[in-house]
């Protein structure tokens, strides 16, 4: 029995002082030697718990076992059988609350770095070393005459499309933006998830025979009913949670107040950080305040620093303990110089004659006894208002469901927030032949949960179409 190594091998990072100057990836990835060493920490448990924590059931012990012997191609084949976006998931999955949380090794020490290993083999393959695997895995296998339409090319839609194509269906993905990828392209910044990698993984899905039509807004170019009438035997809706929330406080429409979606879309999708080579502008003034403390807020605060903001602060109503962002993201943000203004929230924004933001009035909060959800309830402190100078504010308060499909599909049941009502186990909605999954059903969640929903819906669509004569 080899000696147990209790700690994960460290992930090499770009030094904080350097990385705030650029948009290249923060986490550099294991080298081959470290990857094999980390793989060797895995106990290959008889009853592995890790798999239960993965929404798409990646065969974790199996792929790690192959890695130990240097068989990276075998490893990626194992992963790809279950997960069509491993280079993405290896980077952005909240592993600490999923696969790694349940890892048996984690009881005694640190869990196996499953995400980092997944990333390593995925990158190994994308780098070309595993090309033949790519081609073996991604072969057109259209064997069925039935056509399926997938609305939205985010992780949910792409996964459903890939799985349905593997089953032999003719799949067309309809995407509103000019590129596929959803939040992976417009939301998550380049320095956490390089866009070239997202596009490479999407290319692999296309090789399965999936057609992707960009610039196609369902609800405008065609409604769901029109798609069904046009010969699609089933429709999967994965339109995401793309509607930004604002606070409804005075001054919110001043120039310089952004939604996180707008700020990040300008920076990521439109590459405004390379303005004026790329023509879309974005501003991050001397003082930037980000309202909210989730992953989206961390991303926005870190992008602001990279765009040249002198100061970038997270403004949050509760305390550090309650911040919903991943621990690692908060740590990286703090290392880079993001400041925290806790127990604080804006109540009004002020501008100059040109309508440009200059300051905000904040109010302080204190935490009282926990509410039903177990979180401490923040209570505003009367008379604690104070003014804070600020050039840009980025609202990262969460997102609601994108409304276009709901508005144009009258017999599709929505809940009171506008999310599509669908069975979690199979994506079945109130409308025959229509399935849904991902953020449009669950509300803003995670990449891998959206993928899991896409996967389950693909199976349910297959069953549905087999029953239909």
């Amino acid at each position: 029995m080899p000696r147990l190594i209790m700690e994960k091998y460290a992930m090499p990072l770009q030094p904080a002082a350097e990385r705030v100057q650029n948009f290249t990836e923060v986490a550099l990835g294991y080298d081959q030697e470290t990857a094999v060493a980390e793989a060797k920490r895995c106990l290959e448990c008889k009853k592995p718990k890790c798999i239960e924590g993965c929404p798409v059931e990646v065969p974790i012990p199996q792929f790690i076992s192959l890695m130990k012997t240097g068989d990276f191609q075998g490893a990626i084949r194992q992963i790809k059988a279950k997960n069509s976006l491993p280079a993405v998931c290896g980077r952005v999955c909240p592993q600490e609350s999923q696969c790694e949380q349940l890892c048996i090794l984690g009881k005694k020490g640190e869990p196996v770095a499953i995400g980092r290993l997944e990333r390593f083999v995925a990158d190994y393959q994308l780098a070309g070393s595993g090309d033949d695997v790519q081609n073996q895995l991604a072969k057109k296998v259209i064997t069925k005459s039935k056509k399926v339409a997938v609305v939205g090319a985010g992780p949910a839609g792409l996964t459903a499309a890939g799985d349905l194509a593997k089953m032999g269906y003719q799949v067309t993905v309809l995407e509103a933006l000019h590129v596929a990828g959803g939040v992976l392209m417009y939301g998550i910044p380049e320095f956490r998830l390089p866009k070239a990698i997202v596009q490479q993984e999407i290319e692999a899905i296309k090789k399965l025979g999936v057609a992707i039509k960009t610039n196609y807004v369902v609800g405008q170019l065609a409604t769901v009913d029109e798609l069904l009438a046009a010969g699609y035997a089933a429709v999967f809706i994965g339109t995401g949670a793309g509607l930004p929330y604002f606070m409804n406080v005075p001054g919110e429409n001043l120039n310089g107040v952004y939604s996180a979606n707008e700020f990040l879309t300008r920076a990521n999708l439109m590459k405004a950080y390379r303005f004026p080579e790329y023509l879309t502008p974005v501003k991050a003034g001397q003082r930037v305040a980000v309202i909210g403390a989730g992953n989206v807020a961390m991303d926005a605060a870190r992008v602001a620093l990279r765009l040249g903001a002198g100061e970038s602060s997270i403004v949050y109503r509760r305390s550090e303990k309650e911040m919903p962002a991943r621990h690692e993201e908060i740590e990286h943000a703090l290392e880079e110089g993001v400041k925290l203004a806790l127990l604080t929230s804006p109540v009004e924004f002020h501008g100059d004659q040109k309508g440009n933001l200059t300051a905000m009035t904040c109010i302080r909060y204190e935490l009282c006894e926990p509410d039903q959800s177990g979180r401490c309830r923040p209570v505003a402190l009367k008379g604690s208002e104070y003014k804070m100078p600020v050039d840009n504010v980025i609202m990262a308060l969460g997102q609601g469901p994108n409304p276009l499909v709901g508005r144009t599909t009258p017999d599709l049941e929505l809940n009171r927030w506008g999310n599509i009502v669908a069975n979690e186990a199979n994506g079945i909605t109130s409308k025959a032949a229509v399935f849904a999954g991902g953020d449009i059903v669950s509300g803003a969640a995670t990449v891998i949960l959206a993928m899991g929903a896409g996967k389950k819906a693909a199976q349910a669509i297959d069953q549905y179409l087999k029953q239909k004569i």
């Binding site: 417009y186 979606n261 004026p276």
Partner: protein
């Protein structure tokens, strides 16, 4: 690629493109717009669908050269392609038989008001079209507006053609002659604001088409937010047409000017020597 099949230079700063886009052409209704991206590094900009031809699968758009993207676009020719076009976007105009309606187009706004006038006339309205520009050289589509209306009034600021004066004055004349049941006004923000101020005391239901800065056009970013009746609306999905008497025009105009410096810089580097990365302009 969306191919340009016809190009017309309507004035020094206004051009017409007819572009191959059969799916958009099949679906577009009056009041709707599309968003284009000329090339990989381009900005996404919104333009109104001024006309469609379902037989040829083309749409017509008329644009004014105001900055970098519209200038680059003006250099394209028949046979060239536009990389991305997404549409139709926005809510269509609410067309019904109101009775006696007025359609006002100011400057480049003559183009977007044309499909509305045409649809209103087809719906049985008596349509009075009023088109205005600074001078004769800037006027276009007089013939099309004449065909889409029962009466056409032309105004130029300098009196070089039609009657001298602003479109608001023409509206006052039309109102004096008989009841106006509904009015559309599309043009530069100051013109739409002036129109709202003119028709409000007269109690004329007035609709304007707002043109805020947009990004995705699908309700995802909130860049296009405008204040209507004290409520924040996203012009790309809730509009672009709104009740003129409820619109906060001052806010809308201020929001349009947020990127002035960047717009200048983008124009400057287009003409510079350093290869476009902005070094020679700081």
């Amino acid at each position: 690629m969306y191919k340009i099949v016809h190009k017309e230079i309507l004035s020094e700063v206004i051009l017409l493109f007819e572009v191959q886009a059969p799916q958009i052409a099949a679906k577009a209704r009056p009041g709707q717009f599309f968003i284009l991206r000329l090339d990989e590094k381009g900005e996404r900009i919104p333009l109104t669908i001024a006309d469609t031809n379902r037989d040829t699968g083309t749409i017509t758009t008329i644009f004014q050269v105001v900055g970098r993207t519209t200038r680059e676009m003006s250099k394209l020719n028949v046979g060239d392609g536009i990389l991305d076009m997404v549409g139709p976007l926005g809510e269509a105009s609410e067309i019904e038989n109101f009775g006696r309606v007025v359609c006002v187009g100011g400057g480049v706004g003559v183009a977007p008001v044309y499909p509305v006038a045409k649809a209103l006339k087809e719906a049985g309205n008596e349509v009075i079209a009023i088109i205005g520009a600074r001078n004769k050289e800037l006027l276009f589509w007089e013939d099309k507006l004449a065909a889409a209306s029962n009466q056409l009034i032309i105004c130029t600021d300098d009196g070089s053609y039609g009657q001298k004066g602003f479109v608001t004055q023409a509206v006052e004349q039309v109102a004096a002659a008989g009841k106006i049941d509904c009015l559309w006004a599309i043009g530069p923000m100051p013109m739409m604001r002036a129109m709202a101020a003119t028709t409000k005391p007269l109690g004329i239901k007035t609709i304007v088409s707002l043109n805020p800065i947009m990004l995705d056009g699908t309700g995802m970013c909130g860049a296009c937010r405008v204040s209507v009746g004290g409520e924040t609306k996203f012009a790309c999905v809730d509009g672009p047409e709104f009740d003129a008497h409820q619109v906060d025009f001052d806010l809308a105009m201020r929001r349009l000017s947020y990127y002035k410096e960047e717009e200048k810089r983008a124009e400057a580097v287009a003409n510079c020597q350093c290869g476009g990365d902005g070094q020679c302009h700081g």
